[in-house]
Amino acid sequence: MSEPKMIATRDSYGRALLELADAGCNDLVVLDSDLSVSTKTCLFRDAYPSRFFECGIAEQNMIGVAAGLSTFGYVPFASSFAMFAAGRAFEQIRNSIGYPHLNVKIGATHGGLSVGEDGASHQCIEDFALMRAIPGMVVICPADDVEARAAVKAAYRYKGPVYMRFCRLPVPVFHDELNYHFEIGKGEQLTDGFDLAVISTGLMTGEVLKAALKLKKQGVAVRVINMPTIKPLDEDLVLRAARDCKKILTVEEHSVIGGLGEAVCSLLSEKLPTTVRRVGVPDQFGHSAPAWQVLADYGLDAEHLLAVMRDMIKAN
């Protein structure tokens, strides 16, 4: 088997916008806040300059401008780093997009710890929590290039507000584009197993897969579930995993507060109480270091995840 391609999902975001526009989506407009080279909206900007709106380093205003554009029937994708979109402009997203339920998409790149060297000020580990709490907001975090581009296109077709988190770190492309179908609100079971179910989102799914593959070689079958839509959560898939496997591990590049892990716990505590362990960033900030090192420092790499998985399986 050849080595998988390594692509950052921020590149997928930029490419998908261009692909949509090239396919004739004339109502698509893109906004950025002086980060178009980093968020990769520069690809759209250069090809469709009249439908690209540079808003300068003013994310709060950008969100409102996107809201205004959407009231004319345009489908705006407002882009920035996760920290400044979900973080700085939270209340603008809540009141100018969420409350009127406007058809605005927020493309937030550089999410999670994997921004690496930029350090804690730029490592947004709270965006799922913030965005999940807004009524009617869809929250998506794709795992690889194929999923990311499909998610952007699904978000474009969906009528209503969508928050999408993309990452800067190149990660392996494990989906086969020809056979892949993305649907908002649906997770996907990547491997079958009954000893443990691992539910992960974003870049973590690749790491979980690596760990699960090692366990498989040792004869342990772990059910790996990729959950690109954090809200609305694919409840059926989670409940089935809880029934079949009895134990669940959630993994996310996000605070353990308010993210995928808590979404899974909320569901299970009400409908099917199950042992859940959450791996994420504990109640603390990140720090500067190369991306994979920061992830490892918080146990968010295949090696650490393998240890947690073994530990959970052993505890029968």
Partner: protein
């Protein structure tokens, strides 16, 4: 404008003020002060300037208005009702359980409301987006927004002003209701924003200062906005107004920013407005 037209507008504005008092009295809350100061400009806007269709409130070719100072919802609702978007009698359901008249404007429930607002500084950004969209469509659509002078404390306003100027949005008219009061006191004691005219000039606006409670001065201001089309400059009206205008005990009283009148105050306010209306009516019949 003929004298008769001015009188008609003044009578309409007085009815709008009665609606504001009816609504905030009935709700036992709301914001009469900043609603009353804005009654003249919104009356002029909806009765003389804006291209809107009460039968088709979502007409895509209509002009747009965003009440960035969303707490003046009683004024916007009263104007929309007078204009015929919904029955005037519904104003007394303001802020009540089950009413479509939310405390702050909701574009999804109130016919004629173009943007949901309430959190200060946000409406003006949406108005900028609408003006950009109108241009992108190549449509002859004007976008108006009304801000409070206290609202200018919000940094987001100035982000929006930068963008309006950068994109040369000469189809955008930003109106500031300069009534000189905000919740904690006089605007110049809470947070100085003057000299506003120089600031707006420096931000690249076609700045017009006028008495925002005078129909004839408003007429001149809107003529100047019309003339600014093609100039590449967005327009800013600095509307000097009286907070609480039209109700003696509410005028220039910071206390009347955010509370509804009780029964006694309601009777007094309505009596004053009725008297004003009768005078205008007699003059109009002359």
């Amino acid at each position: 404008m003929t004298k008769a037209e001015v009188l008609q507008l003044k009578m309409t504005a007085t009815r709008v003020r009665m609606g504001i008092i009816e609504a905030t009295h009935s709700a036992k809350s709301g914001h009469p002060g900043g609603s009353l100061s804005a009654a003249d400009v919104l009356t002029y806007l909806y009765f003389k300037v804006m291209n809107v269709d009460t039968e088709n409130p979502q007409d895509p070719t209509r002009d747009r208005f965003v009440l960035s100072k969303g707490h003046a919802a009683p004024c916007l609702y009263s104007v929309l009702a007078e204009r015929g978007f919904f029955p005037v009698r519904d104003l007394t359901t303001l802020r009540q359980d089950g009413s479509y008249l939310e405390g702050h404007p909701n574009m999804n429930t109130v016919p004629g409301v173009d943007m949901s607002t309430g959190s200060l500084g946000q409406g003006v950004s949406a108005a900028c987006g609408m003006a950009l969209a109108a241009r992108l469509q190549g449509a002859n659509i004007n976008v108006f927004t009304l801000l409070g002078d206290g609202e200018l404390n919000e940094g987001q306003c100035w982000e929006a002003f930068m963008l309006a100027s950068h994109y040369k949005l000469d189809n955008l008219c930003i109106m500031v209701d300069v009534n000189n009061l905000q919740i904690d006191g006089a605007t110049n004691t809470v947070m100085s924003t003057e000299p506003l005219d120089q600031k707006m000039d420096a931000f690249g606006f076609n700045t017009i200062i006028c008495n925002g409670n005078s129909m004839t001065e408003l007429e001149q201001a809107f003529i100047l906005f019309d003339r600014a089309h093609g100039s590449g400059k967005p327009t800013c009206f600095l509307l000097h107004t009286t907070k609480g205008k039209g109700v003696s005990f509410m005028e220039n009283a910071v206390d009347w920013h955010g509370k509804g009148p009780n029964d006694e105050q309601y009777e007094k306010a309505m009596a004053e407005l009725r008297q004003e209306y009768d005078v205008l009516e007699k003059e109009a019949q002359r």
